[in-house]
Subunit: 136 residues, 2 copies
Amino acid sequence: MKTDTQTYRSQCPLSIALEYIGDKWSLIIIRDMCLGKSRYCDFQNSPEGIPTNILASRLRELEENGLLLKRPYQGKPVRYEYFLTPKGADLLPVLQHLVRWTQKHVDGAGEPPAGFFEAKPEDLLTMWAQAQKTER
Amino acid sequence: MKTDTQTYRSQCPLSIALEYIGDKWSLIIIRDMCLGKSRYCDFQNSPEGIPTNILASRLRELEENGLLLKRPYQGKPVRYEYFLTPKGADLLPVLQHLVRWTQKHVDGAGEPPAGFFEAKPEDLLTMWAQAQKTER
DNA sequence: TCCTTTCACTTGCAATAAGCAAGTGACAAT
DNA sequence: ATTGTCACTTGCTTATTGCAAGTGAAAGGA
């Protein structure tokens, strides 16, 4: 979770992954970003209804952990937009399998948007690529 | 989660999946079962050190939700062993992608056992197949 | 017989996290 | 001057975690 001398509960790569995204909300935010959402209020308006204080703390954690970046899209009042890093975007295959799993095993689940299963992590990095450019 | 008139926080298949396994421990137990563990004390002895009360409640939930079954392997004192149903075993691809993700993005993560990435959900159903047979 | 162990849990309790409602500060629009 | 929006923060209540200890049934040994 932290950057150095991190103390994971075990070295198991699965367990480590769960320390990053093993909760009820982190992957919901990642999903929203995969679907093109990028602002605080976009995340708030998702049907699951994430509490606003939890949203703020999750965005902070995900950023600290390198899964997403935020940058201001306007000054005065500063407003941020969030976008996925490669580390965050690489969770897309996990989301895709979870969606498949639900569709196979749970009745009454909804459909993902068209093209969801065909998407690749690289497709999600437009914003990240821009940020890399402007950084030089 | 429940069997009828279930009330998920949304119809999104990802969100529903997280209501089944979106916490820090459920997938750890599923992982252990994928690795051939089947008894309470096996799960307890895993390096992550799951608290025993949480283990008991997770096993109960996972069984209620149809991801695993338990059956006595001895009477007097009754002792149970747990094994995956197809619904539980089908989470293996999710575990595999999470492991890959950690290996790619997190330094110092351990290696999964040999053959882990080649395994398929069907390979995990020996016990389940037996249970189906003895049921008739 | 009595004592010690093991297994699979349960119980009690303190600490942490989640969830709800309301508030805040910067600005824009009316 | 008032209202509204956005991106949060604060306060508080409830729920979940995590730790330690306890329980009951039986097996094994002295």
